[in-house]
Symmetry: C2
Subunit: 219 residues, 2 copies
């Protein structure tokens, strides 16, 4: 397991170089084929970074396509990387709506009032960032049986999400464990980094997820 | 710092006995004075548990009232306990609305479809539970400057939140650290347990929060 300091210094550019581009197996409609939709929103990220391949080392016991479409416990191994093709754009109204319902503090509610606070500007609640990350996890991690988490370690918000930010997700499998008590499944630990349009981490965490064994091999 | 196992075995009943009841310094309107409102919702918790005192050991350098109304770094010490007077009732519509927006998986969207899934019933997203807990934290922890978190450790969901559940919060300060770089504030680590109406933990975490030093003592 990497230390927190190491995780903060991952060079995502280098990580991309290591994994040769594969065909897009998890393409999500980001609206990029809709000129009117795209014209209505600023895009700071360069065009070459608009889409990201799913990079996955060879999986055991199944074809590459099966592994990526529906990954069972046996298909997962440390070092596998999944990055979101999808992106999530955050706007001020969404920040205020989430803040008003769940985290009603001035820096999540009003640009004007936020100026005289610690943050000096409107920022998203950290729990809004986790919820937006969950949207991206579902679109990014192809676990059979869906995304079922038992917990999270080392959740950090190194910088806040601001109105206009565009978020994407980088996931790396760091551990896979079979369950001794329940032969039908195991646990996969995934380091997840949510990045803004400037490739700066806005959230890092290690998620513990349930992974199901391929049914015919379950006891 | 307690281990995770120890934290799971805290006896909240005993903790209540240890701290003699204090006047309610953080009374939140739970609607209990509105008979029509109260009649419209089931309350499974016994009447004796409807309200919970804020139990706080003597604070240094300030009156008890100041400490509870607006706690600065100097007022906080390991062992201090804060419990929510407020309660949050979760209903199926809210679970589906949050799930539809942030965690669109069958067990968060439909009672019928959920029956054939791992959970076998409609349950709230874990990130919905964190967001609901944030509501309770704001009502419970009287930190001057508000609730500003840099991160969370050991976030766990030992059981899901279900429609009809009523949530409350138990917080215990486990560490207080001054900042060497920034004399105006420090960090407080708080073990937070979100409990349902049967006193079962639905979420546990250790939150790292910013605590400001009392202004006249800041450098």
């Amino acid at each position: 397991m990497l230390t927190r300091k190491q995780s903060e210094h991952i060079d995502y550019g280098i990580a991309r170089e290591r994994h040769p581009p594969l065909p897009h197996l998890h393409r999500i409609d980001t609206g990029e084929n809709n000129p009117a939709f795209m014209a209505s929103r600023p895009r700071k990220a360069p065009a070459s970074r608009r889409s990201r391949p799913v990079a996955m080392p060879p999986a055991r016991g199944c074809s590459k396509e099966t592994a990526v479409d529906k990954a069972y416990l046996e298909d997962l191994a440390p070092g596998q990387v999944f990055t979101s093709d999808a992106r999530t754009v955050v706007d001020a109204d969404a920040i205020k709506r989430f803040g008003g319902e769940f985290d009603p503090q001035p820096w999540h509610l009003s640009e004007t009032v936020a100026r005289s606070t610690f943050f000096k500007e409107l920022v998203a609640s950290g729990w809004h960032t986790t919820a937006l990350t969950m949207q991206l996890i579902i679109q990014t991690l192809p676990l059979s049986g869906g995304i079922i988490g038992s917990g999270v370690d080392e959740l950090r918000w190194p910088r806040p999400v601001r109105p206009g930010d565009t978020l994407r997700l980088h996931c790396e499998i760091i551990d896979v464990q079979e369950s001794k008590l329940r032969p039908a499944h195991g646990t996969v630990r995934v380091r997840m980094t949510t990045l803004n349009q400037n490739d700066q981490p806005v959230q890092t965490m290690i998620a513990n997820l349930l992974a199901f064994r391929r049914p015919e091999q379950a006891a």
